[in-house]
């Protein structure tokens, strides 16, 4: 299945891209993606552990299975205000 991932803040600086489409096995989770991205982008490895996970703009558990065409975003500790 394909899942769209978007990068913001420090994650965008570390990957140098706004987002990409990932090919994943059916039922893959955000935790699986976190492991994959840590290898693909060494600069991300230390940024991902404190991140929350949003799928389709809602916070979810990192071990929740995703579905085709979901939008995944890792949310670093927020700092608005």
């Amino acid at each position: 299945m394909q899942v769209r991932i978007r990068y913001f803040a420090g994650l965008r600086e570390a990957t140098k891209i706004e987002g990409e489409t990932l090919d994943l096995p059916d039922g893959a989770t955000a935790a699986d993606v976190r492991a994959l991205l840590g290898e693909r982008y060494p600069a991300l490895a230390r940024l991902l552990p404190p991140c929350a996970v949003a799928v389709n703009r809602a916070y979810v558990a990192a071990d929740a299975p995703m579905h085709a065409d979901d939008e995944l975003v890792f949310i670093p500790p927020v700092g608005g205000g």
Binding site: A9, R57, V78, G80, G81
Partner: protein, 140 residues
Amino acid sequence: MAAVVKITRDPLDDAAVRALVGEATHASDGGVVTFEGVVRDHARGKRIRYLEYDAYPEMAEERMAAIAAEVEQRWQTDHVAIVHRIGRLEIGECSVVVIVACPHRAEAFEACRYAIDTLKTTVPIWKKEVAEDGEEWVEG
């Protein structure tokens, strides 16, 4: 009125804030509380040159709308505006405005405080401090 919630790149200058106050305030309101978050020149012992804000805009606006809906339910007012600016902000510029208008001041103060506190901990917005000796995305 539906609450005003927005992520913007436009300056939140006095005219913009005044316009939001006007939009939020209705004939039934006797107390209007406006919170403005402003870029200050120091943080954790560092001298700040400027800040850079980023957001996941679609989700940020949805979370801000959820905060407004909670305020509406708990304090019985939907006269709420929550606007956050992103991009590069200079010292003294306004980064966020939260306005709550209610029949009486006590609810307006409480609801405004609740809205900004909840925004700071739940809405996907990020801040990079660019200081004289380096830059860093910071929490809170």
